[in-house]
Symmetry: C3
Subunit: 159 residues, 3 copies
């Protein structure tokens, strides 16, 4: 048991894995924040999608008018979906990359640029910034994940 526990903590003792864990937790928390922003806009804009969510506004027509789409709500939701589409590959490929034995400095460079790009992407989407602000921040994050995937395939390749 003792040896087992010592081994179970070994991965988290590895510096590259610790960096991966830190940045993965940060970008996943950032993605989770989108749920709160959606809820904030739904409540302040009074724009809901489920009838049971408008029950507190009364019955019948008085509540029904709040079952509508709002541009701000839809914008946050698109940002949230874009996070899912891009952060899921980062988390999956990033784990394999962290286990493929990269240099700590190279790994940190990848993780930092990805996290920075996704945070910028959220600001670019929500403010919104004029293009190509959002497009570029998306492309930077995408390229980092692609670069990590290349290293993973070069190291692990077994088809």
């Amino acid at each position: 048991r003792r040896e087992e526990m010592a081994k179970s903590t070994q991965l988290i003792d590895n510096e590259v894995f610790r960096a991966y864990a830190t940045y993965t937790a940060i970008v996943l928390l950032k993605m989770m924040l989108m749920s709160l922003i959606t809820a904030y806009f739904r409540i302040t804009r009074k724009a809901f999608v489920n009838p049971e969510d408008t029950a507190s506004f009364g019955k019948g027509e008085s509540a029904k008018k709040y079952l509508r789409t709002d541009p701000d709500v839809e914008r946050v939701r698109r940002g949230h979906l874009n996070d899912l589409e891009n952060i899921v590959p980062f988390v999956g490929i990033g784990l394999l990359y962290a286990l493929s034995g990269p240099e700590l400095s190279t790994a940190l460079l990848h993780f930092r640029i990805f996290a920075g790009a996704r945070i910028l992407h959220t600001f670019a989407y929500l403010i919104p910034l004029p293009q190509p602000g959002r497009g570029l921040s998306w492309a930077v994050g995408y390229s980092v994940t692609f670069s990590m995937a290349y290293k993973v395939l070069k190291t692990a390749w077994l088809l």
Copy 2:
């Protein structure tokens, strides 16, 4: 090779990791179930989105009328997307949490509450239960993931 294989199975021998594996498989299977429920409602409500899916109903207008949205189908799809938004962070952060050396009892508490909350959330969404049933079950799952992220960042922090 022998030693290598022995080591490769070590993670799954660790009790916290076994608990993580069990609950992750359960919540991912629950999420996968949403696809089957969507298919069930699409077929029974005859509400499809792709023209090729209605070809068996005949050609032209007789098939075209089944290209429509249905409230029950849309409800399951919203539940499915909500699962993606919440179960993805659980799976990613939960893995790091399981490797950060928590007590087995504390880890089990986190995993059990999360899985229970997400199963309740699905029932609350599909029946549907009056609010705040769905809202509360969502918040409980969200808080569990947040708590695990805090432990991960405290243990691994390397920016």
Copy 3:
């Protein structure tokens, strides 16, 4: 430190894990490709969703007409969402499966069928092929993930 580094690369030296890493990178890259295909159709069909994306087409009404949905764009987006719904469970359950000590040949069979089924699914969705082409490729990938989940739960079960 030396021993720590040696251990950190051990997982990637395991053949089943290498196979998992290879196929996970492939299916996640395939999923990422959907973003590029969406962008391609948005630009060639001139169908955008964010006002700031149409600013280069001029101001006012001349740009506003490009804020519209296009059947080809929507089709790729549905394929992308279907990837998220199915590849996320594969990546999560596949990792646990790879760590549960399966035979290399059995593991390769699972990974190869899943990757093949998802690539077929994308072609079936985008061409589109007549049903049940897309339905069958979806069901095959779904069944592979289910089979891996069964092995994970049998090996790890700790509730």
